[in-house]
């Protein structure tokens, strides 16, 4: 019965098989890359606050480290499964490869619900996780990071346990640490800026003057806000942004045809990116329904909220004026919509590439930690610009050369890079 059920691992393998087919990889490389190199499954006994012992199941999967130490988050999830972790570790391999950073892919997790654990218990769980794996992870082999229901506090506990075991300071063992404790600056901006750097390059290629463009954004969270920030700095005119209003269980689009000022909009926005409707109207915004962001006559669309937003049904509503769609969110476009977009010749900067600013910044944190030297924000953002620009140009060139869709190109270039590394090492 479980055969037919949705399995993210099978899906990740299917995706890989497609790319392998297109790249015409040899059988050994395919066999090697479609399963993780190493998997750890282990039991973590934790003494609970009431004195009893509870045993938790922990995982770490290192999908591939041909290009560098494995990199990937640690999830605390009540229904974590090894298949989920496998799939996510594989995606991490491709994600690091597309921006061409010298890291491999990994993922880990613990079956637990933090809602059921006190902070003390969570600390013991984190330390227990590291004790189980202390020999198999490290700044030179596998570098964890925060993920679902884990944060910088969990990372510090893990780092501390690791350093205690190994008797030294190894800030490069883990990323996602707080600034001042080995964390990197620029993390908040990285993803949003990254999206807009790729947009800038795309516009250059298409010969569009960014200063004469307008854009519409879906979502007003972190990614969207910083994408808008950089877009405005580069001279673009944002005219529409949509956001979710939790209280109403509904999203709205906020439109100001002659362009809006990000700072003023931020003043009336709460921590969750919810814009105050009344105050927005006072600022001269038109408040329209949730779908309106997609229908604006703009040059650039940035879906940066949820998955499956541009669908077969909504794609015809996209204005003729739109030239670029930059996917800030993960998977905002459905396959049916993709077909239409392809046909209409709109340039898509796929999620994979567009939002890779985040992982790039994690890499920077690791580099800084390893050399115990921390950069100023400008330096980080400068290096981010370089990485993202190169990544975009490589994917774009690959797409043009091979006459393939950008989304396929991004995926294929990653697989190709990883397989080349494996071959170069003489593994396959």
């Amino acid at each position: 019965m479980s055969d037919s059920s949705y399995n993210p691992y099978t899906m990740a393998q299917k995706q890989f098989d497609n790319a392998a087919e297109l790249l015409d990889l040899d059988q050994a490389t395919r066999d090697f890359l479609r399963v993780p190199m190493r998997e750890y499954q282990f039991s973590i006994p934790v003494r609970m606050d009431d004195g009893s012992i509870k045993v938790f199941r922990g995982f770490r999967v290192q999908h591939n480290d041909a290009r560098g130490p494995s990199k990937g988050g640690i999830r605390f999830h009540p229904q974590e499964t090894i298949n989920t972790v496998r799939a996510l570790s594989m995606w991490m391999t491709w994600k690091c490869a597309v921006v061409d950073i010298p890291l491999g892919g990994g993922k880990g997790g613990v079956i637990c619900d933090p809602h059921n654990l006190s902070l003390n218990e969570q600390e013991r769980l984190c330390r227990g996780w590291v004790r189980c794996l202390a020999k198999n992870v490290g700044p030179l082999s596998d570098v964890p990071a925060p993920d679902v229901m884990t944060n910088s506090q969990h990372m510090l506990w893990m780092l501390d346990e690791y350093e205690t075991i190994h008797g030294g300071k190894y800030p490069g063992f883990i990323t996602g640490k707080p600034v001042g404790m080995g964390g990197s600056l620029g993390r908040t901006e990285a993803t949003g800026y990254g999206v807009m750097i790729t947009v800038r390059e795309a516009m250059k290629e298409l010969g569009i003057d960014i200063q004469k463009t307008t854009a519409s954004f879906q979502g007003f969270g972190n990614v969207s806000q910083y994408a808008i920030e950089l877009y405005q700095q580069m001279g673009g005119t944002p005219i529409c942004v949509s956001c979710w209003i939790q209280k109403e269980g509904k999203a709205y689009s906020f439109v100001k045809k002659d362009g809006f000022d990000l700072e003023r909009l931020r003043e009336i926005t709460n921590h969750f990116g919810e814009i105050d409707k009344e105050k927005a109207q006072d600022q001269g915004f038109e408040v329209l329904d949730s779908g309106a962001w997609l229908e604006q006559d703009v040059d650039l669309l940035v879906p940066a909220a949820l998955e499956n937003q541009i669908t077969g049904e909504s794609v015809p509503r996209i204005s003729k004026q739109v030239k670029i769609i930059a996917e800030g969110a993960n998977g905002p476009t459905t396959p049916e919509a993709d077909e239409v977009i392809k046909e209409r010749g709109i340039l898509v900067i796929p999620d994979f590439l567009a939002n890779a600013g985040g992982v790039t910044c994690s890499y920077f944190e690791q580099v800084q930690s390893n050399q115990n030297y921390f950069w100023a924000k400008e330096e980080i953002l400068g290096k981010l610009d370089l990485k993202m620009t190169d990544a975009y140009l490589a994917v774009s060139k690959f797409a043009k050369t091979n006459k393939i869709y950008m989304r396929d190109a991004a995926y294929m270039i990653s697989v190709e890079r990883v397989s080349k590394a494996c071959q170069a090492r003489g593994w396959v």
């Binding site: 019965m1 479980s2 037919s4 059920s5 949705y6 399995n7 993210p8 899906m11 606050d49 999830h77 009540p78 229904q79 974590e80 989920t84 619900d113 933090p114 809602h115 059921n116 654990l117 006190s118 902070l119 003390n120 218990e121 925060p146 679902v148 229901m149 944060n151 910088s152 506090q153 996602g176 707080p178 600034v179 964390g183 993390r187 939790q246 209280k247 109403e248 269980g249 509904k250 921590h271 969750f272 499956n308 459905t334």
Partner: protein, 1058 residues
């Protein structure tokens, strides 16, 4: 009343000065009489001196006491025509007289130039003297006898002979007690002595059981023959014992007045309290009572002053002493003729305070628990207030129809606020205000019905804050104004409707008033406590399986506790279980921020208003001076929050959120609260809830009552044997209390089928389809059941991906933990939107189908006719996964009812006929029926018919109008919409016109509804347009037209006028 209230207030100050003088005088008299070692002459001479200062014109006031042949008088005493006399009575004999004279003529008042209060004062002094003299004489006698007890018997024998002459009744009583005493010692001969007291003892015992009156033969010789009793006593008992017993009994007899006063229902509160005063005075003079008398006096006081409610009386008698009640009497405001009590809230808080104060002696932790200063207006004052202002007709007001009551209510408040309080009460309030000073006050209702266990009048009667600023006159006036408004709420539509629903309408109701100091500190122009909240000794909202019921629950907010008491849908108190303080409800930063307080309630002292202020703004401005704020807020730091360290947060730049983390982890607060909760629950013998506040330093208990259950949260009575075909499922873990009755539809997401879905997209579709069903099905008449964790994100295999708005209309959210191989998935306990569920009263229930003894009828869910496809045809491909069952059609007219009982840790879902009563009464808590008020839907139905009849179909291009939802189903409540489907085929222009036309109706109907019910919704109509195409394809709401289940009802359209 012709006098303006202002004037009364002005006169008051003078009158109060008089009262103070009188009290002072009385105090001096008492002190003199109780001074140890003072002899009679000295005492009386001193009293002569302390009396004149108590009178209105002390400089011309003189006094004299005549006692037997002795006279004590002021130096310049002379007889004048302006005199008050009062007799000094010792054991019913006039033994002397006390006189107070004025030496000059003064204006005529109550009695000559004397005030009414002065008459009372002189009587009281005379009374005191009488008691003193009796006491003095007896003491003298005892002392004498004790000293020269060379002849051991003489001591008590002399007392007895004195009694024989002066008080034969007392002698008989004493002798009878002695016989008892002897019998208790097992002295057989004593039993024969009973015949001395009544001839009945001589007869056959059966005679008292006979059904005709027994003819007593009075034994006139009794007194003479009682000596035999004492002779016998002397034979068996020590002299000392006889002596001290007699002494004790004689003293005890002196308290007879108190018993007399208490047993007579006609005696007023002031008589009772006077008697209590005298009793306490005697007690201070060394009076000791037998246990039996103590108990009976205490019980009588509890019943007369506090509550007659049985469970209260039972707890109170364990924890309240007579002295405690006496202390309370200082804070009571009443009229001379009052017979009232404190009322539910007042009695509750008083008992809780006593419990805590007593526990205080043993536990250092409790030293930090205080109670705010509180005054009480007794419950029947409201009636003299009504009488005085000729408002009698208000009494029958409750029998009007609810619409009229609602309409009348604003006017009634107006009338009450213009009606002055009785002058005696104004005086009492003035004294109270002097005691309070100018701290803000809260005026709370304390009605008699409120203390019925299980009754939740919470929020039905008013509680009002008064800022209590300005001159004494202003403060008094605004306090009186607030009291009048609280009085008016006794006749408000909400409590009356509640009383109807619980069959309490014919019960006698009175309203006491509690005036409590508001705990807090002044910060800028504002006054508020650092934090406040409510706490429950039993946790009914557990978000983790590790939290047990008895771990309790706290809802905590910054500022005044109003935001913790109420359930607001757009703001969230911090919730924590004191027994499991480390298992926090919010784990991630997002949760912490989403479910945290956003506003703070404060009193603006400058404007005299109550305000809710945005918390971020408030902290920026006043963070630096907010009491104890470092322990209350956390700083948002990247992806986590941390407790501010060192100098505390930077209020200008840091992002702050109220988490109370410092308070929970660095202080004893939670353990203190836990101890208070468990102590109160244990001592009061039932689950309790409390309100509390902290001014930054101390913890104050504000209110305590038996844990109230909302109507839906009463433990359900679960039938012993349920036939298998009626029992749909049962559950036996993490059960809370309550009943979810009359469920018409079940939405069931089959765990096995859901698990087999192969694409993520299809799983997301399940969530979307649920969202659609949530809109279509009748609010709170359907339940959602599904695998694992509702509201999963990311890995949505774990449960259906929904947000709160997709499930907002369900009556219950049920999670099925289907075992997979060896492994039982963890359930979410609704954590994804736990607090939303709590605030909107959606019930949560976990089911573990494979557990022993649990029944789960999967066939019922999968084999019964599935109407899912009819409702949302565009998601037809999910038909195997989502089952929607129309309970009524598939079970021959039955509906589904979920009964939950936490004590038994059992919940069952059964098919049964429709319940007229929404509440299943549990045998322990007798509850009234809760009828759905018929008129809500009937009126809506008629209105809808009228609307349809008035609509010109040709003009607007309308093919048909259909009614659905609560109005059609006859379940509409006061806030319900009228749901209409309009089959529209006209032009855009016609649609615009129609919309406009409907909006007019919608707004007018809303206004009419507001007048009827008090609710306003901003438009009463909910109109859905469907096209020909919709009907053809059965999409959207068109599916309701001609549907097999819950079909929309076609309304006759207006005849084509064209």
């Amino acid at each position: 009343m012709t006098e303006k209230p202002d004037k009364t207030v002005n006169n008051l100050i003078d009158e109060l000065k008089e009262r103070a003088k009188e009290l002072n005088c009385l105090y001096e008299v008492q002190e003199t009489l109780t001074q140890p070692g003072i002899n009679q002459d000295e005492a009386l001479q001193r009293i002569i001196q302390v009396i004149p200062p108590g009178w209105q014109y002390p400089e011309i006031c003189v006094s004299r006491i005549k006692l037997g042949n002795k006279t004590y008088q002021s130096e310049n005493y002379q007889k004048t025509p302006w005199v008050l006399h009062s007799d000094i009575i010792v054991q019913d004999q006039v033994e002397g007289q006390i006189s107070v004279n004025y030496l000059e003529e003064k204006p005529e008042l109550h009695e000559g130039p004397f005030l009414r209060e002065e008459r009372r004062l002189i009587n009281t002094v005379a009374d005191q003297l009488g008691n003193y003299l009796l006491q003095y004489r007896l003491q003298d006698l005892f002392n004498k006898k004790a000293k020269d007890s060379t002849e051991p018997d003489t001591g008590w024998r002399v007392v007895l002979s004195l009694l024989k002459k002066t008080d034969p009744d007392l002698l008989i009583t004493t002798a009878r007690k002695m016989v008892h005493h002897l019998c208790d010692h097992g002295i057989k001969e004593a039993e024969g002595l009973w015949t001395l007291f009544s001839s009945a003892y001589r007869e056959d015992r059966d005679i008292l059981e006979a059904n005709f009156p027994y003819q007593f033969k009075v034994d006139k010789e009794a007194v003479g023959t009682l000596d035999s009793v004492f002779d016998l006593a002397e034979k068996y008992l020590e002299q000392d014992e006889i002596f001290s017993s007699i002494q004790q009994w004689i003293r005890e007899d002196q308290t007879g007045f108190l018993v007399n006063t208490l047993v007579q229902p006609g005696r007023s509160l002031s008589e009772i309290l006077n008697a209590l005063d005298r009793f306490i005075l005697l007690a201070e003079q060394g009076l000791e009572l037998s246990e039996a008398r103590k108990q009976s006096v205490k019980m009588a006081l509890i019943r007369r002053l506090l509550s007659t409610h049985e469970s209260y009386v039972q707890s109170a008698k364990k924890h309240i002493e007579i002295q405690d009640i006496h202390k309370l009497s200082d804070k009571m405001i009443y009229q001379s003729g009052s017979h009232g009590k404190l009322g539910g809230k007042g009695a509750g808080i008083f008992l809780a305070m006593e419990v805590i104060h007593k526990a205080l002696r043993n536990q250092s932790l409790f030293k930090k628990v205080k109670t705010p200063k509180t005054w009480y207006i007794v419950s029947d004052v409201i009636f003299s207030y009504i009488e005085q202002n000729n408002l009698e007709e208000i009494i029958e007001h409750k029998y009007l129809n609810i619409g009229e009551i609602r309409q009348e209510y604003p006017y009634l408040i107006h009338v009450f606020k213009n009606a002055p309080l009785p002058p005696e009460i104004i005086k009492g309030l003035s004294v109270a205000l002097d005691d309070f000073g100018d701290v803000p006050l809260i005026v709370r209702s304390s009605s008699l019905l409120e203390d019925q266990a299980g009754m939740s009048f919470a929020g039905k009667y008013k509680s009002l804050f008064v800022s209590n600023q300005g001159t004494k006159e202003e403060r008094l006036a605004s306090l009186a104004d607030a009291i009048a408004e609280v009085y008016a709420s006794l006749f408000g539509p909400d409590p009356i409707e509640y009383r109807y629903e619980h069959q309490l309408i014919d019960h006698h109701e009175e309203m006491g008033i509690l005036i409590q100091e508001v705990v807090g500190q002044r910060v800028g122009p504002y006054y508020f406590p650092a934090f406040a909240g409510v706490a429950f000794s039993q946790n009914e909202f557990r978000w983790s399986g590790r939290i047990k019921k008895e771990d309790g629950l706290v809802r905590l907010v910054p500022g005044l506790g109003t935001r913790a008491v109420d359930r607001l849908t757009d703001d969230y108190p911090i919730m924590v279980a004191p027994g499991q303080p480390n298992l926090r409800l919010n784990s991630t930063l997002e949760e912490t921020l989403r479910y945290s307080p956003r506003k703070i309630d404060v009193i603006n002292l400058e404007k005299g208003t109550f305000e809710s202020i945005n918390i971020d703004q408030f902290l920026k401005e006043y963070g630096q001076v907010y009491p104890g704020v470092k322990k209350l807020v956390s700083v948002i730091s990247e992806d986590q929050t941390r407790i501010p360290a060192g100098l505390g947060p930077d209020f200008e730049n840091d992002k702050l959120v109220f988490t109370f983390d410092g308070l929970f982890t660095q202080t004893e607060f939670l353990s203190l609260l836990r101890t208070v909760l468990t102590e109160l629950e244990e001592k009061l013998d039932h689950p309790i809830d409390i309100e509390f506040a902290c001014d930054g330093d101390d913890f104050y208990l504000l209110q305590c009552r038996s844990q109230s259950y909302g109507d839906e949260n009463i433990p359900a009575e679960i039938p012993a044997a349920i036939p298998d075909d009626e029992l749909i499922f049962s559950a036996s873990r993490y059960i809370t209390n309550g009943t979810i009755p009359n469920i018409s539809h079940i939405v069931y997401v089959d765990p096995t089928a859901y698990n087999q879905i192969s694409t993520r997209e299809e799983m997301l579709d399940v969530g979307r389809a649920i969202g659609r069903l949530n809109q279509i099905l009748t609010k709170r008449r359907f339940i959602l059941m599904g695998p694992g964790r509702w509201g999963s994100r990311g890995d949505i295999k774990l449960g259906v991906n929904v947000t709160y708005s997709d499930i907002s209309n369900t009556a219950a959210l049920i999670e099925i933990a289907q075992k997979k191989g060896e492994y039982t998935p963890d359930l979410s306990f609704g954590t994804h939107f736990f607090q939303d569920l709590v605030e909107s009263s959606i019930r949560y229930l976990p089911i573990y189908p494979h557990h022993k003894g649990v029944r789960f009828n999967r066939e019922f869910f999968t084999q019964t006719k599935n109407i899912f496809q009819e409702l949302v045809p565009d998601y037809a491909h999910l038909e195997d996964t989502i089952h929607v069952i129309d309970v009524k059609t598939s079970s021959q007219g039955s509906l589904l009812h979920i009964l939950m009982n936490a004590e038994k840790n059992l919940a069952v879902a059964i098919l049964d006929e429709e319940k007229k009563t929404l509440v299943t009464p549990s045998p322990t808590l007798k509850r009234g029926d809760r009828r759905i008020r018929e008129d809500h839907w009937r009126w809506r139905f008629q209105t809808a018919e009228q609307l349809a009849a008035n609509l010109d179909p040709a003009r607007f291009g309308v093919q048909g109008i259909y009614l659905f939802g609560s109005t059609k189903n006859a379940t509409a409540g006061p806030q319900s919409d009228i749901d209409l489907i309009i089959h529209f085929t006209g032009t855009e222009k016609q649609k615009e016109d129609l919309k406009l036309w409907l909006e007019g109706w919608s707004l007018s109907l809303d206004e009419i509804n507001r007048r009827r019910t008090g609710y306003t919704t901003g438009g009463l109509l909910n109109v859905i347009f469907v096209s020909d195409e919709d009907i053809k394809n059965r999409t959207s709401y068109a599916v309701k037209i001609g549907a097999t289940t819950d079909a929309a009802f076609p309304l006759p359209l207006g005849t084509d006028k064209g």
